[in-house]
């Protein structure tokens, strides 16, 4: 009697498991699936593995959707585990390429070379503008320049009606309230890039090291970009740096930036960031496109928005397994296609401007 009951229970569980495993599906078409990309040579390994930067994760998702539509049966599994973990996974041979907020450092380079048995390439594939978002009642279209932003984020400028801010915002009524700085309490490539910008654009008036942790010494920390966004939204007279997508979604106003060339404040927009990217200089040799970030942050191009996070795909120039090389090349070709680039703006990223796309295309086609 009891054995029958037990057998029935086992049968029920098995039947349930079978039913459950039969009804799942990867097919999410119907809500307007991604368009096919053109000019891509498909083939090679079916499922590529990659990991790294969370900042470019949503861009990669858009690329992968287009890639799956374009190359039947091929996909990329991207784990957003952070840039450092991504580089470690790549040099440790766990993944086929890495997503990273910074190019390979001199200490990572030999490891990457050993893993690839060829030169690793840093390809800046995804650009995400960083917004200086603020919450000051009665003030819209705030303008800042590099030196003033640096002083705000290192605590030299303490109130909103400080002469330094007032000089950049003539005709606006600035309150006398103290400035509350919101920063990322967790390690982040966004923080690193933003502090690099502050140091570069202020000729080191910022005076703090540009590390992944915020060193400004003022304000309140919050976890993740979402945390800083929420903190800025909920705290009056506060200011913080976040990826543009977060500011857009929270409908926070963002400061216009007067770049190193002077002139009028430049609003955060796709076109304005594109101007800065087109003018950027490359320090990488040959097909390696490591960027000179100073040339981005200190851009003098009129109308160029200078604060952008450049995130790289770190790949091998020649893979030990040619199948992997073919698939990586196909994926990156897809990523550069207009169809994949079109998915970027909704995530707050900037499509790669045409002039820079040519350089990337040359590098990508050299991968084998």
């Amino acid at each position: 009697m009891r054995f029958q009951r037990r057998a029935a229970a086992v049968g029920l569980i098995a039947a349930g498991a079978l039913l459950f495993s039969a009804c799942g599906s990867d097919n999410n078409s119907g809500g307007g699936s991604a368009p096919q990309a053109t000019g891509v040579t498909c083939g090679g390994k079916q499922a590529l593995k990659a990991s790294g930067s969370t900042a470019q994760a949503n861009a990669i998702t858009g690329f992968v959707n287009t890639f799956e539509q374009t190359c039947n049966g091929q996909t990329v599994n991207y784990t957003a585990s952070g840039s450092g973990a991504g580089r470690n996974d790549f040099t440790g041979g766990q993944t086929d390429f890495a997503g990273s907020d910074a190019a390979l450092s001199s200490s990572d380079l030999p490891k990457a070379q050993a893993r690839c048995n060829s030169t690793p390439l840093n390809l800046p594939m995804v650009f995400g503008p960083i917004a200086i978002a603020y919450n000051v009642p009665g003030v819209s279209d705030l303008a800042l320049d590099g030196p003033t932003a640096a002083k705000i984020f290192n605590g030299t400028v303490k109130t909103w009606n400080d002469p330094a801010i007032a000089a950049l915002n003539p005709g606006k009524t600035l309150p006398a309230n103290p400035i509350v700085v919101n920063f990322r309490s967790d390690d982040s490539g966004t923080t690193q890039n933003f502090q690099t910008y502050l140091n570069a654009a202020s000729n080191n008036a910022y005076g703090k090291p540009s590390t992944q942790t915020f060193n400004g010494g003022v304000g309140a920390g919050a976890r993740g970009s979402q945390g800083v966004t929420d903190a800025t939204k909920n705290t009056q007279y506060s200011i913080g740096y976040i990826e543009a997508s977060f500011a857009q979604k929270a409908q926070l106003p963002t400061a216009g930036i007067i770049n190193a060339g002077g002139g009028s404040p430049v609003a955060l927009s796709t076109d304005n960031v594109g101007k800065a990217i087109n003018a950027v200089q490359v320090t990488g040799q040959g097909n390696d496109l490591t960027l000179d970030l100073n040339s981005l942050y200190k851009t003098t191009t009129p109308g160029a928005y200078p604060i952008a996070l450049a995130t790289y795909e770190i790949v091998c120039s020649k893979y030990a397994d040619p199948q992997t090389g073919t698939a990586v090349k196909a994926f990156l070709q897809t990523a550069l296609s207009p169809q994949a680039q079109g998915t970027l703006t909704s995530g707050g990223y900037v499509p790669i401007p045409d002039a820079f796309k040519q350089r990337l295309s040359t590098s990508i086609n050299s991968i084998s």
């Binding site: 495993s21 599906s25 990867d26 097919n27 959707n65 599994n77 784990t79 966004t229 929270a250 995530g347």
Partner: protein, 303 residues
């Protein structure tokens, strides 16, 4: 028994009932209030958590797609697709852990209760205590060091299962041990008296008697490991498509899905997925706990 029967039937020396003093009444009231207060304080966060997860996650889980589709091909800001791939991963990884940890755990408990004497038993018992205090990230890093750094394997759902074994083992061993100790010695002695060997006594008398409690403990151990986040962060990559194969490729799981959406996706759809994923995880754990109590009710030995 006999002491109660032999008790002298004469009145107690002093008065049996006295009026309760005010001081004692006050103390009683005070204690009642404090205990009730402690209970309420303990329950508030639990109810709060459940209610907020339910309210924020419910809109996500009511769609059929949520339970039958993966997130393959869905852009981050689209409120489409589901978490089927993550449910599959969570169950597969927990199952791997269970297949290894449950037999080992039960045998270890049988050893400790029925055979274990002397040094080996003491060491085993001590080690189980230590193992139950190991944080999940340490278990994950141990597996990472052993199998990936030294062994040269690549990340997979199977390795997550192995890390979960380390977390599941002490729970299974300790619980089974308790259950086996609850089996009255009279049953064992009666069995021996009938000339039945020890192994058969354990197999046919001790284990069936303790079965319901053991199964409950195993189910609770499953429920405990399914929400573990550290092993999936270290030992496996995230995938948006369904992967039944724990030995090859990336495999999603509910904690990993929640973490991924949390760290990358600020859109409304992402927020919905985070809460929906949390609610789904709670529901699955609840199903396991419910199954545990049902099994213990229906498989209990009738007296």
């Amino acid at each position: 028994m006999s002491a109660a029967l032999d008790a002298p039937e004469r009145p107690a020396a002093s008065e049996a009932f006295r009026a309760v003093s005010t001081a004692r009444k006050v103390k009683n009231q005070l204690a009642t209030v404090l205990v009730t207060l402690a209970f309420v304080i303990a329950v508030i966060p639990l109810v709060w958590l459940l209610v907020s997860v339910l309210i924020k996650g419910f809109p996500a889980i009511v769609s059929v797609d949520w339970w039958t589709k993966s997130l393959s091909g869905v852009t981050p800001d689209q409120a489409r697709g589901g978490v089927y791939h993550a449910i599959v991963g969570t169950l597969v990884q927990a199952l791997i852990a269970g297949i290894i940890a449950v037999p080992v755990g039960i045998f270890a408990a049988v050893y400790l209760v029925e055979y274990g004497r002397g040094r080996l038993a003491r060491i085993t018992s001590f080690m189980v205590d230590i193992l139950s205090g190991v944080p999940s990230i340490v278990a994950a890093l141990f597996i990472f060091a052993l199998f990936i750094s030294i062994g040269g394997l690549s990340q997979s759902g199977f390795l997550v299962g192995l890390a979960l074994v380390l977390l599941m083992l002490p729970v299974v061993i300790r619980n089974t041990e308790e259950m086996l100790r609850l089996v009255p010695d009279e049953l064992r002695e009666a069995s021996y008296a009938l000339g039945i060997p020890k192994w058969k006594t354990i197999l046919r008398i001790v284990l069936p008697t303790a079965l319901s409690g053991t199964v409950t403990g195993v189910m609770l151990a499953f429920a405990r490991v399914m929400g573990e986040t550290a092993p999936v962060l270290v030992l496996v990559g995230y995938a948006r498509a369904i992967n039944f194969d724990p030995f090859e490729g990336n495999q999603a799981s509910l904690p990993l899905l929640i973490y991924t959406e949390l760290s990358t996706n600020p859109s409304a759809a992402g927020q919905l997925r985070i809460w929906g994923g949390a609610l789904t995880l709670i529901l699955i754990v609840m199903v396991f706990q419910l199954a545990a109590s049902l099994i213990s009710r229906y498989s209990a030995i009738s007296k």
